[in-house]
Symmetry: C2
Subunit: 338 residues, 2 copies
Amino acid sequence: MNIKKIAEMAGVSVSTVSKIMNNYSDVSEKTKKRVMEIIEQTGYSPSNSAKTLATKKSSLIGVIFAGELNVEFTHPFFVEVLNSFKKQMGVLGYDLIFFSNEKFISSGDYYSRCLHFNVDGCVIISGQKMEPAIRDLDRSSIPCIGVDLELTGTKSGFVMSDNFQIASKVVEHFYLLGHRELGFIGSTADSEISNQREAGYVKAIESFGLTLNRKWFVHGDDFFESSGYAAMQQLLKTGSLPKAVFAASDLLALGAVRALKEQGLRIPEDVAIIGCDDIEACKYTSPTLTTIRQNKERLGVLAAHMLFDLINNQSDGGSFVVEPALIVRESCGSRLTG
Amino acid sequence: MNIKKIAEMAGVSVSTVSKIMNNYSDVSEKTKKRVMEIIEQTGYSPSNSAKTLATKKSSLIGVIFAGELNVEFTHPFFVEVLNSFKKQMGVLGYDLIFFSNEKFISSGDYYSRCLHFNVDGCVIISGQKMEPAIRDLDRSSIPCIGVDLELTGTKSGFVMSDNFQIASKVVEHFYLLGHRELGFIGSTADSEISNQREAGYVKAIESFGLTLNRKWFVHGDDFFESSGYAAMQQLLKTGSLPKAVFAASDLLALGAVRALKEQGLRIPEDVAIIGCDDIEACKYTSPTLTTIRQNKERLGVLAAHMLFDLINNQSDGGSFVVEPALIVRESCGSRLTG
DNA sequence: CTGAAAGCGCTTACAG
DNA sequence: CTGAAAGCGCTTACAG
């Protein structure tokens, strides 16, 4: 079934059918109705490739996981942002296409992939480090929104949680619980997100008038559980432990918890722990994990609307920062103050 | 940049460039080399829409989550299958497109969506219940692979874990631990997967010569934690508890654990629990959860290869069943036998 | 081994 | 309000 057959069946021209499908006003109600009925009956849906070829618009949004090849769909934070993004983008009339990295990651040529598929825009989800190829895309004329990734191109924007505020809420919570000796577990120096959280943490410690002790700051190789475990072991080896530790991700926190438990240490009595992300597992761990929740749904919805506006030239990009929330569970004990 | 410009730059015809791009043999090495160099330099990538329009092949695979609108990317089991599927499909030269349900779920017209995008094939991931629209797709000439979903069309196939074997391994484990009073927590009667696991469980109980006690069989509204919690509360209310419970998903199991703990009951001392799926959280819960691991990576890889063969007419569909593995953790106690 | 031309299914000025 | 025709960027018989 194609537009020509529909036109024949309705006894009108192809142009007229096209106009009706695209809601042009200069068609009589009568022909419109007749054609619509035929479209309805036949279940006709215009070929996206032909339409794309003619208009240079595909109604497709490219989804790019920058950096970490093996994470993608299993990353608990991004997947939730993506879920909300997809839903909102669907409402706005777009579908999502996922670029397979395998063949292209070496050349890393995301830009030509975008041209290849004629995507109307991209959402770029940050991995560990920024690939140069992402910069090319950012600088191009293709609308891009970064999630937890600062995109600065003229047709780009980004959304992220306020990492400074995240850190500040953590320090405040520790402070109110009476903890003065604070440690940190982060990812590698490559990770923008980890660095921001660390910088915010340092800043907050200082602004609360607490002593900053760098020996309690350790780093893993990524944001995963085994890195947190290794990092805490590193701390344990020094023989000196902080009273409270902020980990830059929940999985890092859970790894740290495991290392502490293995040494017979109690949480929160011996060491209080706060994670970051509020992944589902936090509720089921022992102790349940106090953490910072990012508003993933809102991040996804914002990303979708920003991208939509960028595509339709109703925005020049910019950025939105979403406020995080402290989720108090068991891993820090109860508040001492009201 | 397009094929015409490449042709001009190389001083050859468009046809020749096309042949080179598509690895036709009847081109001289000399021209081939010259053209390839120009393609390299310019970073030219042919328009997918033009190609699709001309060939009726898009190198795109449609991904469909059938049924559950809100689950999608946050479903811990499917997301891992999908990750492996995507990777393998990428190697085979395909990209993935995700249909937005929002506009179409009412009409549920997946088939016309497939035509719209000219997808070469589809992977359909089962939700709670089977939508009629999936049947239409299954019956169509578009190659489809179901994941945990029995597709029977002539151009269809499916992969799933052996649910009978899952149940049998659970019963065996309970049996060897000395448990004779076995309960079950499932999802709704709509769920094919839950039903299969239950049927397998019943069969295994009987073949082990144990007494089947239907009063210990309860069902939630879905596969999620809160359903498991509610289901266990239902059991608790009856005043009679089994010694061991198999839940059709890990989240159901975790909900059940929560309900038991709230009543001061100990796991595994008072009730042993086995879940299903081996989601990440199992390792972090208290107690850690004994479960059945489905080989998600293998399911994804198999789905990809089966779909590829179906697309290339090298197969008539069929199905693969993947063997599950029992993962022993703390929620059943230690084995009493060797 | 190379190229001219028709065709894929749309949209969009443009003419009427 | 309606339609003929060119064009989007490819591929593919076909002729040479």
